[in-house]
């Protein structure tokens, strides 16, 4: 249906077409398709083993699909099939226009290197060569993720879990990516720390007009952050739609079970 106000972003950023992945006889992910538009947050929910992490890895080009395609609209406006990108291009994409927030910050950070260098690395990787400017930008980002800039020269080893996760977010966002993948970003954090992180993510996503694919088993996270959800079970996408629609008016038996399993607040 024609809609004038969509003109600014009428082309999807990321398109998945019939993505499947089998490990031997096990189908980890079957026939997943969707389009993600700029500024849109898509949550993939489901329990462990539902195939959501496999899907995330295929979307982010870290795992080759058994069949199907992922295409991405590059900064030059040209949409490319990820499978046709050379390794150099894919890695470049990964440290400039994409971000990836791991559940375990140790996977996404250099634990032995200072917070400032952790944030600055992506800048240096794209050729920034002025220490002062790199440090100012890193310091600015620490402030944005609510880390005291007095801690800029400390390594993440000395940080709490919540701080590490916020540092990982700063490290990812410093190159102003358009698409960020998140794998259970609030997993393993205390509830109060989670709330703060979600809040921060929510405002950063809106402010930077980020497109996000977030994998979570926590429906509260999906409700707070995402516009749309995809519910996965046994490697299949069983239900998809607006987040509040799916959570308030779930249709599939499994989705109803998921929703009813949330403890009332």
């Amino acid at each position: 249906m024609a809609d004038q106000n969509l003109v600014e972003n009428d082309e999807p950023l990321l398109v998945a077409k019939s993505l499947s992945k089998s490990f031997g006889r096990i189908a980890a992910c079957r026939d997943a398709s969707f389009s993600l538009y700029p500024g849109e947050v898509l949550a993939i929910v489901g329990e462990s083993g539902s195939g959501k992490s496999t899907l995330l890895q295929m979307l982010s080009g870290q795992l080759a699909a058994s069949s199907g395609h992922v295409s991405y609209r590059m900064r030059d406006g040209i949409t490319r099939d990820l499978a046709t990108l050379g390794e150099a291009e894919r890695r470049f994409l990964f440290r400039t226009d994409w971000g990836f927030v791991h559940q375990d910050p140790a996977q996404g950070l250099r634990m032995a290197v200072s917070a400032g260098a952790n944030v600055g690395e992506r800048l240096m990787a794209v050729g920034w060569n002025h220490y002062g400017r790199i440090r100012d930008t890193a310091s600015d980002w620490l402030t944005r993720v609510e880390i005291d800039t007095a801690r800029i020269d400390d390594t993440p080893r000395t940080y709490s879990g919540g701080m590490r996760q916020r540092l990982q977010i700063a490290r990812n966002l410093v190159t102003e990516p358009r698409l960020v993948f998140m794998d259970e970003p609030t997993g393993g954090l205390d509830v109060s720390v989670q709330a703060r992180l979600l809040d921060l993510l929510r405002s950063l996503v809106a402010e930077l007009h980020l497109a996000v694919v977030i994998v979570t088993h926590d429906l509260a996270v999906a409700r707070l952050l995402s516009h749309r959800v995809m519910v996965m079970k046994g490697g299949r996408v069983i239900e998809t739609g607006l987040t509040d629609q799916v959570l308030d008016d779930p249709r599939e038996p499994y989705t109803q079970l998921l929703v009813s399993s949330i403890l009332p607040p």
Binding site: E87, A88, R91, V113, M124, H130, G132, D153
Partner: protein
Amino acid sequence: MNAPAYNFAYLDEQTKRMIRRAILKAIAIPGYQVPFASREMPMPYGWGTGGVQVTAAILGPQDVLKVIDQGSDDTTNAISIRKFFAKTAGVATTTATDEATVIQTRHRIPETSLHANQVLVYQVPIPEPLRFLEPRETETRRMHALAEYGLMHVKLYEDIARFGHIATAYAYPVKVNARYVMDPSPTPKFDNPKMDNCPALQLFGAGREKRIYAIPPYTQVVSLDFEDHPFEPYRFNAPCALCAAENSYLDEIVTDDKGGRMFVCSDTDYCEGRQAAGHHGSLSAAPYKEKAQEASNG
């Protein structure tokens, strides 16, 4: 031949050919680490097994060999390697930089400018400049392949963040021929500028790590830095106590247990050459020896 039991220059010819092929490839791709089948040598790792294999592979009967360790011709390591080749190859040896055709070195580049008919062979302990930041060899190789060198600047960034300046004083990373980032072996960064556009061929051998790399003559070698923290070679701000040289790399030598110390050229050949040419420092050899005697007498 005074040691018929050995093949010329110790290594068998097949091994030399293998090493030469690695060297040729290394010269063809300046700064790129070429794997080679490093042999067991009659010395422990860390004593120059890589350098010795490279030297053995390129040495000819007409060559004149000089070996230095930390700039000095007369340390145990330098003397052993010199003797090793005198015995196994029967080549002439020298301590004079000018006269040598092959110079094997540990941790220094001679002060005397090298010329086009010379080969400088470096002993390298750890050839991978990215190693301490990225422990995975698969990943560092990929980073070299894709020229992803942001990580190298992370190290320099950390230096400045911690010490206010780039505190890396040796094994200071360089970019060779505007392509590969290379570890120049643990030479002081004072020597880095000498690598740039050098008329001599520079070969690097890492025995334990089984890598050979090279800088062909007249190749651009740039020390990495930041715009606002440019590369600066460092030397102690003093003249050599023996030859009064103002522009040579100095060793600090503790002379007693009361805090006494002196600075002398680390390049012994250079220092002796200057003294022979009439340059004298505050503690030139003769007076210094007298003073030392006075001190022990008194």
